[in-house]
Amino acid sequence: MADVLVNIPESAAPGEIIEIKLLISHPMETGFRPLADGTLQPRDIITSVRCLYGGETVLEVDLHPAISANPFLAFHLRVDRSDEIVLEWTDWYGEVQREVRQIEVV
């Protein structure tokens, strides 16, 4: 399990556009880095990130090797109800990790 920083406000007003930030501990190995023996360090990147709000997919992001190590993503979401916000990402080996937060909209 990678260390991850997730920033989602705990509460917001109805209709408010909140900012969501995600920072994942990951080397994002490009697959182009030569090793001492002349071979290349195999690619190992996070390939996609998804955000779900109340079970509905609101954002999909495809990441390529040009995304920096320890990938950072900030985006916005309009919230109109108290519900679950899920951030989910998939790595090169198909492994999925997720973080779940609840937002109170009052």
Partner: protein, 148 residues
């Protein structure tokens, strides 16, 4: 102190070595091909997309990039996909966003790798099928002392 020409020259000797560790495989042509695939050959109009990247980058390993599309993000009128391309990294693709109108605002920030000074292009596809784009050139300065 005056750093002599000899010493500055010696410091500069490392440059070709560094290029070996940062292969540059893509080209304006491969970026063009990747864009053509994304747009299915159509030419995007200029505008509605803004790219915010520092003009002068301190280290190409981590360059903050914000891409924003001017869109009301309603069910009838929203961005369906944004793709960002570069012309001198090993691969032309950087990142793609597929937002739903629920986001309310089409603004995204990530950090990207830029192996060299180069042009970045962002293209947005709208729910009506129209394509919009923005491009900018980013100058990447090399760090002084690196271990590789």
């Amino acid at each position: 102190m005056t750093l002599t020409r000899r010493s500055t020259f010696a410091l500069g000797l490392g440059l070709p070595l560094m290029l070996v560790t940062r292969p540059l495989f893509a080209s304006p042509e491969t970026m063009g091909a990747a864009i053509a695939t994304f747009t299915a050959g159509a030419t995007p109009a200029e505008g509605r997309v803004s790219l915010d990247i520092p003009l002068l980058v301190e280290n190409g390993n981590s360059v903050p990039m914000t891409v924003e599309v001017d869109s009301p993000m309603t069910a009838n009128d929203h961005v369906t996909e944004i793709a960002v391309f570069n012309e001198r990294n090993p691969l032309p693709d950087i990142v793609r966003f597929r937002p739903s109108p629920a986001l309310g605002l089409a603004r995204f920030q990530v950090r990207i790798r830029l192996g060299d000074t180069q042009k970045i292009t962002a293209i947005a596809r709208m729910s009506d099928g129209s394509l919009w784009s923005a491009a900018m050139t980013v100058i990447v300065t090399a760090p002084a002392c690196i271990e590789s």
